[in-house]
Assembly symmetry: C2
Homo-oligomer: 497 residues x 2
């Protein structure tokens, strides 16, 4: 017998050591967030029995904590895109997502996502009953606080993306007022799960480790429920939908040191990396583990976009009309101890009332020289930067960083500077973007990209379509979680018992 303390993700249980099956199903799913819920629904709809094991006492996962925007488009456009007058080609969506993901892009996965995105919209609407209003939210926003169905949620309209692919808004927001999309979405998913007789849910149940047979095939898993270890047989396989690892400080430090500059992990307490660890322990390869979403959510108010972000040399480093995550990632790559956002008193406007950022005022100046002194910048450094920026604003073209003309306003004193430096008050949210390498079907693969029989992963436990903060758009995570969960559920069902 394996001793009890060895029942950990790192020690898969061998099938021949299993004396008894306490529970049996076709598809065993770890985690009841967006990915796990959609996996169970699609498995059940394809004819399989599914069992979900959720650590918490209710469904939700990180999806319920999010705004649940869902990134969808291509194929001419979703119903909402079309109704709002946006045509969206699959190629434009693909080009944007590939550029966003960078050199580590998974082209096959992104291609599949873009080609089937409208189909996914229809599945969410027709099969689950997710409501989207056919209306467009024009304001630059991090999340949509109205019930509008569509908004720009990334850097589609910003340089360099706007030169690479025709911009289209792809963030689909649920038909509900306020930032309440996540809870509504998971309520709908949960109701869908509950009405399907083929699905059983076990709450307050922790997945401990996988069970593998002699050939390395995943045959089930060991869970703990009411202080008892139960062996769960999964005839067709197991799907790991257990989230990422942003709550595991040591794992973040070892794998994603860049994220240690973040101030607030965004996720649920179950995001400890245990799903990724279980997959690794049976030969799955974890990839892109160093990357994460990390951000300086500097708007709202949208007027912050008129400001410039600078480092402690007084230098700009990005077009400030990009998505906040892109600005955050660039800011944190600056060789700089301090980071500031400089703007006019007028642009500062409603900042204190509506900001999520919470960055304190670092200095103000009736003159540029006064502001330089307050910020500890070398005399003349910000002045240099403003000389060029203001000339460019007058010309209507940001010659160096290519901020769109609509966001160019000369920065004339009196000026305000916010302190964006992590650790000095600004909110710097982060979560992980690395996970188990999977095929577009959700099959977990080893380092030779051969599938591990019987093992699937979806959502943040897998490494999905989103690979970098630099290319993040809101809605990519819930889009990826629901789509990859749904596909993994289907694929597992197709597997032989």
């Amino acid at each position: 017998m394996t001793s009890p303390q060895r029942t950990s993700p790192q020690h898969p249980r061998r099938l021949r050591d299993i004396q008894e099956w306490h529970l049996e199903t076709d598809v065993a799913i770890v985690g009841f967030g967006g990915a796990g819920g959609c996996a169970a629904i699609s498995a059940a709809d394809a004819g399989a029995e599914a069992m979900i094991f959720e650590l918490a006492s209710a469904s939700g996962g990180s999806t319920a904590l999010s705004s649940a925007e869902i990134y969808m488009g291509g194929s001419g456009g979703t119903r909402v895109q079309k109704a709002c007058g946006f045509e969206d080609s699959t190629e434009d969506m693909y080009t944007y997502m590939m550029a966003a993901a960078g050199p580590q892009a998974d082209a096959e996965k992104i291609r599949n996502y873009c080609e089937r995105s409208v189909e996914h919209f229809d599945w969410l609407v027709n099969n689950l009953g997710v409501p989207f209003k056919d209306s467009f939210h024009a304001e630059r926003a991090i999340m949509c606080l109205t019930d509008d169905g569509l908004l720009f949620t990334g850097s589609e309209k910003a340089w360099p993306f706007r030169e690479q692919a025709k911009p289209a808004p792809r963030g689909h927001n649920l038909y509900i007022e306020g930032d309440n999309g996540g809870p509504l979405f998971m309520k709908i998913v949960t109701e869908n799960v509950e009405k399907r007789e083929r699905i059983q849910v076990h709450y307050e149940t922790r997945a401990l480790t996988l069970i593998v047979d002699e050939d390395g095939r995943v045959s089930g898993l060991v869970v703990r429920q009411n202080q008892q270890e139960l062996n769960v047989r999964a005839r067709k396989g197991g799907i790991l939908c257990a989230g990422g690892f942003c709550m595991n400080e040591e794992m973040v430090r070892r794998h994603a040191p860049m994220l240690t500059r973040g101030t607030q992990p965004i996720g649920n307490p179950g995001d400890t990396g245990s799903g990724i660890q279980m997959g690794m322990a049976v030969g799955g390869e974890a990839v892109n583990m160093h990357e994460g979403f990390i951000s300086l959510p500097f708007y709202p108010p949208a007027s912050m976009t008129y400001g410039i972000a600078i480092n402690d040399k007084g230098q700009r480093f990005i077009n400030e009309d990009v998505y906040h995550g892109r600005l955050g990632a660039y800011a944190l790559q600056q060789p700089s101890e301090r980071l500031y956002m400089v703007l006019t008193v007028e642009q500062y406007g409603e900042y204190e009332k509506v900001s999520y950022l919470g960055a304190p005022v670092a200095g103000t100046g009736e003159t540029v020289a006064e502001l330089e002194e307050e910020l500890g910048l070398r005399a003349g450094s910000l002045e240099n930067t403003l000389r060029i920026y203001n000339e460019d604003c007058a010309q209507g073209e940001d010659s160096q960083f290519h901020k769109a003309a609509e966001w160019l306003q000369p920065l004339e004193p009196p000026l305000v500077a916010l302190d964006l430096t992590p650790g000095r008050g600004a909110f710097v949210p982060f979560f992980t973007l690395g996970g188990l390498d999977t095929l577009p079907t959700g099959e977990v693969v080893n380092s030779a990209r051969e599938p591990i029989p019987g093992l699937y992963a979806a959502g943040r436990t897998a490494c999905g379509i989103v690979r970098r903060a630099e290319g993040y758009s809101s809605g990519m995570s819930v889009g990826d979680a629901t789509f990859s969960g749904r596909l993994a559920g289907e694929q597992a069902t197709k597997s032989a018992d």
Copy 2:
């Protein structure tokens, strides 16, 4: 029986499937570079039989291709440091190496390295017979082309490190003229191996996969020799010293996308990641996989240090007196399509004769405005930068980037600019710095940091003391390889059969 095509690193062989042992030893070592050679020597000296399996037809590995500088110091100083008048404290060395490694530093491993570094020097000298001359090479150099025994090989004297720890030269260069340290070092190691009867070497033998028993203990490995698969029993364990993965393009793209900007992988053809993959397949965790050494080797001539590195906004981004790998890493993090080095015609001097960089001239200017135009920089941008830089030079203090005063010379036209942009002619060498997580003893650990019984790793197959290009000093790799190899050999020998 497992089918032959499944004999790959991803598929460990089970002990009970082994019909016959073709070879038996105490310690089986994969790879005969610096790490593998030192592992075999220390195992043999501790009383074990050791067997080395080397893919190539001769010893060498990447160590033989390197300059074989060895980074050592602390404990008051090595014999060479002391003879050259440098005192070096363990704390200063530790502080420098911790800062160099960044947030992902392995403090325990670095502590052990620093505390035992002088002992390691003595082992190399007394036990192996490695010759070092008691002389100091004062010139700033990437490699020492004289037979001097000691030089500065990192960023010890550069900001911010100089403020954190007292600088000491720690690069120990073998007593031989020219860039011939690597071949000499491996010749000495190989002679040491050959004279030890307890060590057997199998050349032209590829390690295919590990053999594990029912409890996950590594019991041996399968190798291919003369087109035959041989089962090798390793009574005390296996040590993976099979290099990194810089020659595996797909693995680099998936794990270390930053390195895809490099033009030249630095390593031997065996650096395919197979050792890392073998370790992962039995539960070892790979860490720091995204990091690598990547560089713009912009000196010699040392006079290049008087120049400034700029991005395509005409902005400086670093103190140019740092080690070339640090400048390279910072350069590649710049949000910039082009990178330049600007200097005076006089500083350019012997560049064409002695440079390794090979960067083409991007432009010249009798005036700054002319150079801006030739480089496609916005008018006034480089002028801004030079206004501040030249004022600072006149004051003898680089107010923003802290280049040491000895390297400050005003940049007055006529000026030359070199094109440092990867892909436009400059040599951008790279190699990987991620690998299997190990304890300081060389024991490979899983994601819970529990040792995998019978499995050790050293050199680039392990993730060692060096974690980032930003903090690299020449000599850290061969230092780490030889030290970690030596420790792993000792530790494996201590293990029960």
